[in-house]
């Protein structure tokens, strides 16, 4: 019985008002009002009040809880990263910021992290696939709140922000450089700053100018000619470059959105003001998002992501190499010398739970990708792991149709959504921007 008022308020808009429209005796009243009869007017006013009561947007208690769980003020403070002793060191973050924008950190001196992760564009580039030294195979991910993610990349093939940063530096399609060149450059250009943070730099006089385990054939053979101690010296400096970049990226936070202002007022039981007022369409979209369309099962929490991997049946892009998502990333993260269980982690192994208990062999990993955050999503088309969809309308149409996956099994099921409901979902997604 306690649920009754909320149910009534929800249902009366749809049921009660259409019922009144159909009611013949009401029609008769309208005529009588013209005759100036006081009791008639009183009755109609009474009804008007009743109907108006229905019109106020209302949420059930369960809906209110879900909405509160999505608001930015529900985001807990960032946990310390014990695998990176410098994660919250301001000096390391400052050096990381310098390196993030430094074009010299690339084979040809023209590509920095910021080439693809552009500061004025939510740290992404608006392209279907990022372009560095050459075109990559995936869309550049935005970086707001990235430090909350236990897995990095669309397929989670790295398990920390600092191990992730080392990949583009050596990827032939991105910055395309090599390990010894980076270590030597950092020593020459930022030696003093580096040593103040990380301690003394080793002597590189006998280290080849260009060598690395992932580079060209000559770079690889130069790397293989180095001693184990030299490998370790270089790897440690390389890992510290990643740790500085990670320290910087920990400060890239999501911004308050219109939705957050709406949610804050709703939670406080107040009346939204100014741009915190949601239109009926936006409210309908919000209700769909957390209700019938079950978007918030995966896009949950204040970052609108469960940080997990799902096959949602997004089609592959024709001219790109085969991409099987998470299933192929498992072996890569296990083999990464910079992973949590490797030699370059600070702190103890108890921080490595995600890697230790990683799902390694389930069919549902096929074409599974990390659920992206939806914060400020309207401002950064195209969408999905290789920019498959150009607009939010296309995204919603994809979820409504829920095509089966080219490989593996999609977890999403077709939704029966009217045109108005699709538009409402898009309208709601737009409220996740400032």
């Amino acid at each position: 019985m306690r649920r009754f008022p909320a149910q009534f308020q929800e249902k009366c808009v749809t049921v009660f008002r259409s019922e009144l429209r159909k009611n013949k005796s009401l029609e008769r009243f309208r005529v009588s009002v013209k005759n100036g009869n006081a009791p008639g007017i009183a009755l109609i006013l009474l009804l008007a009040v009743l109907v108006a009561g229905c019109e106020r947007p209302q949420f059930s208690e369960a809906e209110k809880r879900t909405i509160a769980s999505l608001a930015l003020n529900a985001l807990p403070p960032l946990k310390p990263d014990t695998t990176n002793r410098y994660a919250d060191d301001p000096g390391a973050a400052a050096l990381g910021a310098t390196l993030f924008f430094d074009f010299t950190l690339s084979r040809n001196g023209t590509v920095a992290c910021s080439t693809c992760h552009q500061i004025g564009q939510q740290f992404q580039d608006g392209l279907p696939q990022g372009v560095g030294v050459a075109r990559t195979n995936r869309r550049t991910q935005p970086l707001a709140g990235v430090a909350y993610s236990p897995w990095l990349f669309w397929d989670g093939r790295r398990d920390s922000l600092w191990a992730q940063a080392l990949v583009p530096l050596e990827n032939p399609l991105e910055q395309a450089g090599n390990r010894t060149a980076y270590a030597r450059y950092v020593k020459a250009r930022f030696g003093e700053r580096y040593e103040r943070i990380f301690g003394p730099l080793p002597d590189f006089s006998n280290v080849p100018a260009n060598a690395g385990p992932l580079g060209s054939a000559t770079e690889q053979s130069a790397w293989n000619g180095m001693s184990g101690a030299q490998h370790d010296d270089i790897n440690r400096v390389f890992a510290n470059i990643g740790k500085a970049l990670a320290a910087f990226q920990r400060s890239i936070n999501p911004k308050e959105a219109r939705f957050d202002r709406f949610a804050a007022v709703l939670a406080a039981g107040g009346e939204p003001q100014d741009d915190a007022v949601f239109s009926p369409e936006e409210i309908q979209g919000l209700k769909l998002f957390i209700g019938k369309a079950s978007c918030s099962t995966c896009h949950n929490g204040p970052l609108f992501t469960d940080h997990a991997f799902h096959n949602t049946g997004v089609p592959p892009v024709a001219d790109l190499p085969p991409d099987r998502g998470r299933v192929d990333a498992v072996a890569q993260v296990d083999a990464d010398p910079f992973n949590c269980l490797g030699a370059y982690r600070d702190g103890g192994p108890e921080a490595c739970g995600e890697l230790k208990f990683m799902v390694r062999d389930k069919p549902e990993l096929i074409r599974a990708y990390k659920t992206p955050s939806l914060r400020a999503v309207a401002g950064r088309p195209p969408y999905m792991h290789a920019g498959q969809f150009g607009s939010l309308e296309e995204v919603v149409a994809h979820y409504a149709k829920a095509p089966s996956s080219v490989e593996g099994v999609s977890e999403v099921h077709p939704l029966r959504l009217s045109e108005r409901e699709r538009a409402a979902l898009v309208a709601f997604l737009k409220t996740l921007s400032p």
Binding site: R3, F4, Q7, F8, K11, C12, V15, F16, E19, N23, S25, L26, R28, F29, S32, N35, N37, P39, G40, L43, L47, L50, A62, T297, C298, N300, G301, D306, H307, A308, F309, H310, G353, E354, K356, F357, M358, V359, R360, K362, E364, V409, S410, E411
Partner: protein, 149 residues
């Protein structure tokens, strides 16, 4: 000029309609929680009746999106602690087409038939199932726990 009794009858009619609509709304309202609520007891008998298992989060409450340790306490039907068992964990969300986001493992024997299961994580709210495959010297059996977040 319509006489007053006509308004009275129309008014009564309207009130009747409103009451009728209310009745319909109330009777057709969905019952919450949706679908049959699963049995979420923390102590359950295994499928073949070999063990009685109690499964609880080590720090008291199941949390969303956090790696947690759980403690499984195994007793025989007669109430004796079960020692030297190995435990395989599987599961997922019966209403969604996915399994667990992690692969939890037995990491410790705590004595008294108690086993630590580490790496348990629930990545969304809703109904989760954890299936524990138990192999003990006395035999093997399975117990299923429902967890609703």
């Amino acid at each position: 000029m319509a006489p007053f009794w006509r308004y009275l009858i129309a008014g009564i009619g309207l009130v009747a309609v409103v009451l009728g609509v209310l009745a319909v709304v109330y009777m057709t309202a969905p019952s919450t929680p949706p679908a049959a609520a699963p049995e979420t007891g923390q102590t359950r008998g295994s499928e073949k009746g070999m063990f009685v298992a109690t499964f609880v989060p080590q720090d008291g409450t199941a949390k969303q999106n956090e790696l947690q340790d759980w403690v499984l306490t195994l007793k025989t039907a007669a109430g004796k602690p079960v020692e030297n068992a190995t435990i395989e964990v599987s599961g997922g969300m019966p209403q969604h087409a996915h399994g667990l986001p992690t692969s939890p493992k037995m990491t410790d024997y705590l004595g008294d038939g108690r086993y630590r299961i580490s790496g348990v994580k629930f990545s969304m709210s809703g109904w989760w199932q954890l299936k524990l495959g138990i192999s003990a010297p006395t035999g093997s059996d399975t117990v299923v726990f429902n967890i609703v977040l």
